[in-house]
Subunit: 412 residues, 2 copies
């Protein structure tokens, strides 16, 4: 068997078995959607990956608790993170689930919640309740885009992804209707992780395969490791970060264990998650350039990730990229300070096709060619450790005046 | 016995038994001093603390090797870090020591070296040699200031400290000549750690107590922990960072083991190191504000330091301080993401005398009063974990347009 992925329309409602709506209920400015409601037509298996921040927000704790094989709804609000709100915050998160359960005719435990926005302010529950009422009336199998809009905070664009995966083993001869296929769709919010007051990264995905919660969770964890966990704007991890994946089971594709379909599903999930990750980094506040960093020859994933993070979170590397300066000394310094175990005298560094460091020593290189590489919107940077088999690509961005401007004047 | 510390003139040459000089030899622009030579008149015990960066520069490796009870000289050059220079770099560092040994009539192993400046360029040895010749002619017991000038890179001011410590146990009645006393003096360079191309933080101290290398090393490590290791501009650790302390033994004070004099010496060393640290942070590039952060009630030093670093290295906290915005949500978020073990629901946060967070929850506070606190050049920030006995004060700074400007246009 082989599988073919096709990009389709529909965002998070591309998969069967899900309806969505996005409405304005008064958490954000007039006319800005701020509450999204999702209905799963059949009980869905759900998987989640959540923030590691110790100040975990109440909605995150609640969603972790409610992750089961029988999810019927999801409520997401923007404009208020319901974080650092103590006991009351937990009550409010549960009341949100309760209100949605009433409308969706299910138990509160079958509803997931997520919040994003300002920290330290109680949720205005009357607005949340009326938002859920309103959204319930607007639920639609084509509501993905409205929902995608309702979860945004400082984002400047909507972030969506959707794919159909077709069993291609019968060749081009077969007609679509005869071949089993499934969908995966998703939406995300976040201008990188640069804005924890507006607690920052959320992503929601829906697929219509039939799959157990355990397998779904396993697939999601793997996908997140190589997608959302490979982007960084400034190394901040918010109190509300969450990625939720729901499987409605409305397609004919069943994944009972490992095999070709499992592999095809994992690949599609990874592509969808990467797609959303890239949309997040590309919408980073104040960004003028994306740095696409590949660490090659690492002994393992952790080493590659530690070195990548240290490079991409270095204020000096970021300002050098903003200034389009081929300042490899700063890359070397950030690597050396990362705490990762590697051999400095083996390190090669390439900026695009220009090698700037060989075996840990600086080279005389073509500055004009390097300037051309650095002038691109996406700049490829390769660090080869020559130590092992692991290759990891991660994405970061530069640090501009605009970043300082946005973030020094944010709360006021 | 009790001891009294008095601030005196003289910088690193305040202590007896040391001479210094600072000259121009052509590594920096015409007229800018770039090479410092120190002579210890009697063999001195030496202690050192060095960078943990894996790309350790050859002069650092050499200095580590040469740390003994019998140091006669120290050569420091600015303008070139002799970092990422491989085998040739080691040879050049040793040749530097060898040339100084020739002039000072000792073994190369009795000479320490340090370098700071551009990474990845070989030392121009002819210039170094003529610099040592020239500096040797200018050696003077009042040469501290010239030496302090010669070790600077992007620093905007000279950094010096010097104290006399007098045994005060006889009360005010005794005359100075009758009471044993010792001196400690030092100099440092660094615009914080924000500039690894000009590999960044160096500090040199000289005291005239008689002390073994082991005790000296122990005292230095403790002092560095609560001084140089408590400042951060952007969390970068350069390839050349080094703190060296030499004891000439020319005073009448002998420290053979623990006791009152040992305590007095450690205190004086800590004060001197803190003095230099503060001068470094106050000269941070682009700085408009110093953040003085005290973490109280921590279970141990490591927890306090991890949380401090996470707060002070957060680009979001730094930009908020630049914008004079009492954005406690960003402080909470940085703490939670630090990886340190603490209880979020116990955390109190104070900005000056304004409490902004109680037991992990936000308070409604006096914004005008907070604005006054934030308008100061040095802003006190207190985080109380209510968990244990450890209190640690560390210093950071804001992130300004000027920082981006300086660092995006540095190398070119």
């Amino acid at each position: 068997m082989s599988h073919k992925m096709e990009k389709v329309e529909g965002g998070i409602t591309a998969a069967g078995g899900v309806e969505a709506a996005g409405v304005h209920c008064g958490l954000k400015k007039e006319g800005e959607k701020d509450l999204a409601l999702f209905r799963l037509l059949q009980p869905a298996a759900a998987a989640g990956v959540f923030t590691t921040n110790r100040f975990k927000a109440p909605p995150v704790t609640l969603a972790e608790k409610h992750l089961t094989n029988s999810i019927k709804g999801l409520v997401v609000n923007s404009g208020n993170a319901n974080a650092c709100t103590g006991e009351q915050g937990f009550k409010d998160a549960f009341s949100t689930a309760q209100k949605a359960a009433q409308k969706l005719d299910c138990h509160p435990e079958e509803v997931l919640v997520a919040s994003t926005g300002v920290i330290g302010v109680y949720l205005p529950m009357d607005k949340i309740y009326s938002g859920i009422e309103l959204a319930f009336e607007e639920l639609s199998p084509r509501g993905g885009r409205d929902a995608a809009e309702a979860i945004l905070t400082t984002d400047t664009v909507i972030k969506e992804t959707s794919y159909r995966v077709v069993d291609d083993s019968t060749g081009d001869g077969g007609t679509e209707g005869e071949r089993p296929y499934f969908y995966i769709g998703g939406t995300a919010k976040g201008s990188g992780m640069i804005c924890p007051d507006m607690a920052t990264m959320l992503a929601f995905l829906v697929t219509d395969v039939k799959i157990s919660r355990d397998l779904l969770q396993k697939a999601l964890q793997e996908a997140v490791k190589y997608s959302f966990n490979t982007i960084t704007v400034d190394g901040e991890t918010s109190t509300n970060d969450a990625v939720l994946l729901m499987a409605t089971g409305s397609s004919d594709v069943e994944i009972a264990g490992e095999g070709e379909t499992w592999e095809a599903f994992k690949e599609a999930l990874l592509v969808a998650c990467r797609d959303l990750s890239y949309q997040i980094i590309a919408d980073g506040e104040g960004i003028t350039k994306i740095i696409k960093l590949t660490v090659k020859g690492a002994p393992d994933y952790e080493t590659a990730r530690t070195i990548s993070r240290s490079i991409l979170n270095s204020a000096l590397v970021k300002t050098a990229f903003f200034g389009e300066d081929a300042n490899w000394g700063r890359i070397i310094t950030a690597m050396g300070a990362s705490g990762a175990d590697f051999s400095p005298h083996k390190v090669d560094i390439f900026l695009g096709d220009v090698q700037v460091t060989s075996a840990g020593r600086g080279l005389v290189f073509d500055e004009d060619r390097a300037a051309q590489v650095l002038a691109q919107r996406e700049v490829p940077l390769l660090v080869d450790l020559h130590l092992g088999p692991e290759t990891l690509t991660t994405w970061g961005c530069d640090l501009s005046y605009e970043y300082v401007s946005i973030n020094s004047a944010y709360r006021s």
